[in-house]
Symmetry: C2
Subunit: 115 residues, 2 copies
Amino acid sequence: MSDPVAPAFAPLPEPPYYAVIFASLRTPSDDTGYAAMAERMVLLGAQQPGFLGIDSARGADGFGITVSYWASLDAISAWRAHAEHTVARETGRDQWYRQYTLRIAKVERAYGFEA
Amino acid sequence: MSDPVAPAFAPLPEPPYYAVIFASLRTPSDDTGYAAMAERMVLLGAQQPGFLGIDSARGADGFGITVSYWASLDAISAWRAHAEHTVARETGRDQWYRQYTLRIAKVERAYGFEA
């Protein structure tokens, strides 16, 4: 592994808050369209009320996990109802994702380590 | 992206249950030792009482997310106290991880999609 430029971790606010855990397997199709949508959703999501942060990783096998953090369930519902997010979600099911799971969880404890 | 052999997703039991969300940035060192430990921890963790499943992804930049699912907080505590897991965790801080965050969260809702 080469020495990477350190990616930013989502911040660690004091619990409780909420996590949306999205695990997904990409189809092999439309990498360009997918990448543009993913970047747009991160930018747009970060502007929503109650957004606290996001962590995301995807391996070469196409399996990825994105966890976004939110101040409340209402904030998650509002983001879910956002028009542009709704279109992205529908296109995701039609084209970009072979399979996904989504879980909503209440963060009760959180800590970090830095070498 | 090539057409991958589909990785297994963690199952979707009925909530509530618990998630341990582990986001980490690898150091550039000891890929072989790290891979052996990671594989051993997945096998050993899966044998623990209350283990429900695991999802894991790491990108080429060294940033990864592993989410393991557990029936109770007690099950998480028992796995945390496991001797071999404790050694792995200490070696992780000494050698393998530049930075990590760990969150414990109660899963309240969960669903899946398959194309």
